[in-house]
Structures are given as C-alpha cells and as structure tokens.
C-alpha cells in the first residue's frame, strides 16, 4: 500500500498519471466518431503526419537557436496533424481519391518526411523514438498544461456536440437535409482527431496513438447497443488501461505506451470471449412483432396434426 503512496507523491509520476487519465478519457470519445465513420485508421495516418510535424518543429527550433532544440516539436506536431486531417477530410469530400489511398499516402509521406527532416535539422532518427513510442515519464509542467487545455477542448466539443456529430457521422445526407452545418461538423471531427493524436503522442507514442482511440470503442460496442453508452464505456476502459498500465511501469521497467495498448487489447479479447457466454445466460426473447401478415398458412387443427 505504501508503495502506491510513494508512487502518488512522486511529482514525475503525478504529472504522468494526470496526463494518462486525461488521454484515457478523451481518446475514445473521438475514436467513437472515427469508428462510426469507418475511419478507424485515420488516427494512424494523422500520427504519421504528426511525425513530420515533430521534425519540422525541431528544424525550426534548431534554426532559431532555441534551447532545448525540440521545444517546437509538439506545436509542430499539432500544426501538421491538423493540416493532415483537414486534407484527408477534403479528399474524402471530393471523393476523387478513395479514402484509404489518401491514408496510405499519408502514412508513407509522414514517416519519410519526418526522418528526412530530422536529418536536415542535425538530429538522427533516434531523436524521433520518444515521439514514436511515447515518453510519458518526461512530461513537464508545460506539457501538462497543454494536455489539460487540449483534452478539455476535445471533451467539450466531442461530448457537447455529440448529437450533431452523431447525426453527420450516422447519415450525412439526412444531416444536410436538416440544414446542419455539415462541413463545419466534419471539420470539427477532423480537428478533434488531430488534437487527440498530438495529446496522446506523449502517452503511447505516434505509432500506437490510434489504438487508444479505437480499441476501447471496440470493447464498448461489444457490450452495449447505444452510441452514447459505447462512448461512455470506451472512456472508462481508456482511463482504466492508461492508469493501470502506467502504474505497472512504476515497478516494472517496460514501455508504458506498449503496455497500455497490450492491456487494452487483452481486455478486448477477454470481453469478446466472455460476451457470448454472458449473452447466452439471458433468456432468449421473441423479436417477432405480433402483427398479422398477408401469407395464408393453414392453421387448422388438421394441419397441426399433420406436422406432428
């Protein structure tokens, strides 16, 4: 017990836990919309582009002689991620290039651009490792403030505008016919996804960011029928795996980001395995409506006896 007390009084751990908690809540909120739109891999595409942003931030920082030279890495990632996700949305709207082709090009361009630019900035691809796989133990107070602000924004828009964002994600055509600002709402989802990626980058790393957005939602939709509850369950699972995963790394020296994602997938496997067993215990009910149909079937006692 006192071990947990030590962990909670460690300022480094405190900051990391707060960051993990916030990311755990917000990533599945945005992930719910991405899954609804069948854009589960969008987070990955944005993550790759954000890597180029990190390198660009580094390059600008080095050129300006800032100390430390990666001070602009996160702002760079935010800008690149927003630009990348808005571009994807524009491509999706135009419908000329299919969404998955555009995503694939983002994947390759993002990684290649990042490695190329970090070299020009005088670094090595090793400098990018912290961003690729997360570095939650190095969260500074400034980082934490940025995380709090961005997560608050994500939750405010993602939860506050849920009915409207659900409407455009569910049936865009109906949303247009309702006069909803569909373009702005689509852009809101794209920007939310970009912000989530950059926030979650510190916790699980760019390569695993999407897992935190998608896997908790996948668990949520196994256990509920409703959009709202899928989002809620996703957020709870997100918080649990982030906090538990991070806490375990206080005692065992493993990569927190990887552990969190493995935990989430383990929860998914357990729930997916148990779900059919639990569902079977509920009494089966007759889904057929009790209404007359227009099919004439012999229901006389004679017909009944023939069947026996």
């Amino acid at each position: 017990m006192s071990e947990i007390g030590y962990m909670l009084t460690d300022p480094l751990m405190q900051r990391a836990l707060v960051a993990a908690l916030l990311v755990g809540v917000s990533a599945p909120v945005v992930g719910t919309y991405l899954v609804q739109r069948r854009l589960a891999l969008l987070g990955d595409g944005i993550g790759h582009v954000a890597l180029t942003g990190v390198a660009l931030g580094w390059l600008v920082g080095a050129a300006l002689g800032l100390v430390p030279d990666d001070v602009l890495a996160i702002p760079g990632a935010v800008v690149a991620a927003v630009v990348g996700s808005v571009l994807i949305e524009v491509v999706r709207r135009r419908g000329r290039t299919s969404g998955d082709l555009a995503l694939a090009i983002m994947f390759y361009g993002g990684i290649a651009g990042g490695v190329l630019i970090i070299g020009i900035a005088g670094g090595s691809s090793g400098n990018l490792m912290a961003y690729l796989f997360g570095s939650i133990s190095t969260v500074t107070s400034t980082d934490l403030i940025l995380t709090v602000v961005l997560c608050a924004l994500i939750l405010l828009v993602g939860v506050g505008l849920r009915p409207a964002l659900f409407s455009v994600s569910h049936d865009e055509e109906f949303a247009i016919s309702s006069g909803l600002p569909v373009w702005a709402l689509n852009m809101a989802v794209a920007v939310l996804a970009a912000l989530t990626v950059t926030v979650a980058m510190r916790v699980v790393g760019l390569l695993l960011v999407s897992a935190l957005m998608i896997v908790p939602v996948a668990i949520g939709q196994l256990v509920t029928h409703s959009f709202r509850r899928t989002m809620a369950v996703g957020s709870v699972i997100g918080v649990v795996v982030c906090v538990v995963g991070l806490s375990i790394t206080y005692w065992y020296p493993v990569s927190p980001g990887s552990l969190i994602v493995v935990l989430a997938i383990a929860v998914y496997a357990v729930v997916a395995g148990l779900h059919p067993l639990l569902a079977r215990r509920r009494p089966a009910r007759d889904p057929h409506p009790d209404i007359p149909d227009d099919v004439e079937v012999g229901t006389t006692s004679e017909a009944g006896e023939c069947e026996r």
Partner: protein, 267 residues
Amino acid sequence: MTSPVIDARDVHVRLGASHVLRGVDLRVDAGEVVALLGANGSGKSTLVRTVVGVLTPSQGSVSMLGHPLGNGVPWHRIGYVPQRVSAAAGVPSTAAEVVASGLLHGRRLALPRGWRSRAREALDQVGLADRADDATSQLSGGQQQRVLIARALVREPEVLVLDEPVAGVDRPSQEAFAATMTRLIGSGLTVLVVLHELGELAGLVTRAVVLRHGKVVHDGAPPRPHGGHDATGHEHVHPHTSELPVQAPEVGLTDGPLGTGSTEVGS
C-alpha cells in the same frame, strides 16, 4: 395565393459525367400529396435529393417554403426520409438515438429537453415504441425503414419528402404506414413521395408526376397502373404458362428471344 411549398424550376443535375435531370419543373402546393413515379434510373431520387439540398443543381432553381435552397430555408418544417441506408454503421446506435437526430436542424445542434419522450412518440407513430432502446442493426429492413420515417416525423414537419418509403416493406406495415400518413395528411401535411407503385397510398395521392429520362412526362391525375393480378376487377384474358405445357420449357432451351412466352408484363 400562397407561395408553393416546393418550387423547382428548370432543374438540371449532373452527377459526374451523367446528366441526370434535364430541365425538371416541379411545383407542390400546401396540402398536396404528390407521388413521383418512374422507372429505375429515371431521376426520381435525384430530384428529391436536390429538393432537400443534398445535391446542387447545375442549372435552374429550387425553393422550399418560399426560400431558395440554403441557410434561409426553415429546415425544421421539412422532414426527409432517404432511401434506406445500410444500418451497418461502425458503432451501434439505438432506434431512439437515430430518431432523436431528427430533432436537430439548422443551428440547433443540441437536443431539446424531453427528446427521449419525443423520440418515443415518433417511434410510436410507426409502431416501434417498444423497440426504442434496441440497436437499429437488430431491426429488420422494414423496421429500419420505419425508424427513418420516425426520424423525419419527430420534428413535426409541415412537408414530408420520402424516397421509396415502402420499398421492401410488407403489406401490413404498408397499411400501418398509410394509416399514419392519412392522419398526418388530414392535419395538413404536404407530401412529396417517390414510389414504384401507388399501392396502399393510392387513395391518398392527389397528383402524380412521372419522370422518364430525367424529364417530366406526366403531371396530373394519378395514372391508372396496369392492372396486375392484385388489382380489383383484373380479368385473365391471356393464357397462363400452366395452360401451355409444351411451350413453357422451350423458353429456356431455344435461342429465341426470351420473354416471348412470358405472359405477365407490367404486373
């Protein structure tokens, strides 16, 4: 005296390289129930999607309730029922959640108070009140169609635009739908409905517009459909295949044009 509810003038719509609508005029006045008929691909769906603002005409103009399409249109007075969308969206959603999205319009982006009971009332109108909390993906195709109708009704529209609302819906549900429509039309609803056949709605339709190759070829009284087997007073004046035992198999075996042996055209 009053301006028309729907007023489309010389509407041309191009989708990619195809010129789908070629100068369509459509005027619907308050209280009318207009059926839009025509073969597959004649442009019926394109016309209603243009009328509700989903598609932009390349030429011509559309106004709804006296306002040209755009932000000025009072969208909350218009209900649109699209052709059934695939329910297999990524995340499950309950029937009540889908219906509640019909309460949002224009700049209203949050659900009003009491949205739950309103959604349930709308579902009740289509006979699905007891399925409000079920996932839409668990409903049958016809039931999903009725959820979409409830989504349009929940905002208590003055104008209802429906795209094949009864396609693939069984006869009792069609009758229930017709009963609901009768009640709503009685209270002054204006309707534009795309149909393949008038069916259960025949008694309600006040006017029919027939499209062919993207143009209006008939605008007036509902046309008498070719009497099928189900039409009252239908007389069998042609021989049935059962009476032609020798010819029947030939249809599939010879190289002669298919269909010469068939007896039911337009039924």
